[in-house]
């Protein structure tokens, strides 16, 4: 089944075309970074306006790169939750309208659940159960896929998302946007033991990055070497993420783990997770970079699985800024 997928949940306008659940024909992301950079963060109203401008060109580019016309598309998958409401509405409305105008099925998809399903784009033969750490500027969650269609969150951040904490410390260090990657680059030059940095609380599956973020900012204000602060901060955050991923896998009894979200691009996190997986004999899956950051291919992947399971969304579907993982369960019948 040829599926057109759309994601406008945050600051990127994304569209993709898939043929089947894991065969990506095109994956287009139109970034808004330049428009938001002067403000030091994503401005919701700016994002909504740019989605309106970008939605048709992005969809058209995805179709062109896939070598298809709109009338070749057999279903629409679109992100309806969670994210910035005004941004979500643009993509959702576009998806609903295309579904109505072409009389083809519509499936609404949860953005975080789709990050987990990006693992299947890397390894189509992957079998649940598996545990995925989804870490980005907006989310930090340990998501368990018990079997296809049965998802739950084992742990989550209690305050900032991991990527958000990176961005905020980067801003305190006077680095430009996007801050996370800039801070990681600076960390490579620093000594993680050059400054005192508390460990994150261990013992549960939840995260908390607020305390360490404030500590890092205080050190920077006090004139500590920025590279050392960046290295120590990254060290502790990565330690905490890898620790929770390992504990979660052990508690859930799974042997397949994965990374998703923009923070999965962080080299220190990838290396540390690889070392942990090797040490404990776990199978680690990290999607290609383009499928770690926000993209529509992952929406199409999960959407396809849901359609296969017989799930359909109605034309009165509404966007939601906050939504739990695992609300809509489905079962695949083979």
């Amino acid at each position: 089944m040829k599926i057109l997928a759309i994601d406008t949940s945050f600051d990127d306008t994304a569209a993709a075309v898939l043929d089947g659940p894991t065969r990506v024909l095109s994956n287009v992301v139109s970034s808004q970074w330049e428009a938001h950079a002067p403000y030091g963060g994503v401005v919701p109203e700016v994002a909504s306006r740019l989605h309106v401008e970008g939605i048709i060109p992005t969809i058209d580019t995805a179709l062109r790169k896939a070598g298809l016309e709109l009338h070749d598309i057999e279903a629409i998958a679109v992100t309806d939750r969670p994210g910035l409401l005004g941004s979500l509405l643009v993509g959702l409305d576009a998806g609903k309208t295309l579904s109505f105008a072409r009389s083809i099925p519509l499936i609404c998809v949860h953005h975080i659940e789709a990050h987990l399903y990006a693992l299947f784009l890397k390894r189509p033969d992957l079998e649940p159960p598996l545990l995925c750490l989804v870490a980005s500027g907006g989310h930090s969650s340990l998501v368990l896929l018990r079997r296809h269609g049965a998802m739950s969150v084992l742990g989550r951040t209690r305050d900032d998302a991991a990527g958000e904490a990176f961005d905020k410390v980067a801003r305190a260090a006077g680095l430009g946007m996007p801050g996370g990657p800039a801070l990681s680059k600076l960390a490579e030059k620093g000594n993680p033991r050059g400054v005192e940095m508390p460990k994150l609380r261990v013992g549960e599956l939840d995260f908390s990055f607020s305390g360490i973020k404030t500590h890092a900012a205080r050190l920077l204000l006090e004139g500590a070497e920025p590279a050392d602060v960046a290295a120590a901060f990254q060290d502790r955050v990565v330690d905490a993420l890898v620790d929770r991923l390992y504990r979660g896998a052990r508690e859930a009894g799974v042997t397949t783990i994965g990374l998703g979200g923009g923070v999965a691009a962080n080299r220190a996190l990838r290396e540390s997770t690889s070392a942990m997986a090797e040490k404990h004999g776990l199978d680690l899956v990290i999607p290609d970079f383009a499928y770690c950051t926000d993209n529509a291919a992952m929406i199409g992947c999960l959407g396809h699985f849901m359609l296969d399971a017989g799930i359909r969304s109605e034309l009165d579907a509404d966007a939601r800024s906050v939504a739990e993982v695992g609300e809509i369960a489905f079962e695949l019948h083979h």
């Binding site: 109203e45 060109p57 410390v169 205080r218 204000l221």
Partner: protein
């Protein structure tokens, strides 16, 4: 709602020739939903898309006897977006002044309109001078059929939009409060 409209007339979306949509000014999110729907419906069906300015749609609701029509749209915080339309000898309403954003209280009592004219507004409570002016104040009908009629009129004049670039008329640039950096501990 759109699906119901098609169903009730036993119409297929593919048979659409013209799509009219209110492009504002108005509430941003509301306009976006309408405009994005029109854009994608146009892209999917190949129908012509026409964005109808809200002020024109309002002016069209004046009785055909009205010589001049003063339109006042509630913008935000007691501000009005106002425009004056005048009827040509051919009976067409033409906008004679560019829309202007004003504080409602600064509307002076020297009237732009009087008896024989009309005032169309969604906020009569902000215009205490209404009675003094003596113009007719008809009930404001915000139905989509008005938008459709205006879209057809614009089509006849060749005023069509591109579905790719059509966007709402925003009254203001995005109001941005730059987030402060980390607060000094």
């Amino acid at each position: 709602m759109i699906a119901e409209a098609f169903e009730s007339q036993a119409l297929d979306p593919a048979s659409l020739a013209l799509i009219g949509v209110a492009r504002g000014p108005g509430t941003y999110t509301g306009l976006r939903v309408g405009v994005v729907t029109a854009k994608l419906l146009g892209r999917a069906t190949g129908a012509v898309v026409i964005g109808v300015p809200t002020l024109e749609a309002m002016a069209m609701q004046a009785p055909s006897s009205a010589k001049s029509v003063f339109v006042a749209l509630h913008a935000y915080k007691k501000r009005l977006l106002v425009a004056l339309f005048t009827r040509t000898p051919q009976k067409h309403l033409v906008q004679t002044e560019e829309p202007e954003l004003i504080v409602a209280a600064s509307l002076d009592s020297s009237p732009k309109v009087g008896p024989g004219d009309a005032v169309i507004t969604d906020a009569p409570e902000l215009i205490p001078q209404l009675d003094e002016w003596g113009a007719e104040v008809p009930f404001l009908d915000t139905s989509a059929s008005t938008v459709a009629r205006l879209a057809r009129a614009r089509l006849a004049l060749g005023q069509v939009d591109e579905s790719v670039t059509l966007a709402p008329s925003y009254l203001k640039p995005p109001s941005v409060t730059v987030k402060p950096g980390l607060v000094k501990p």
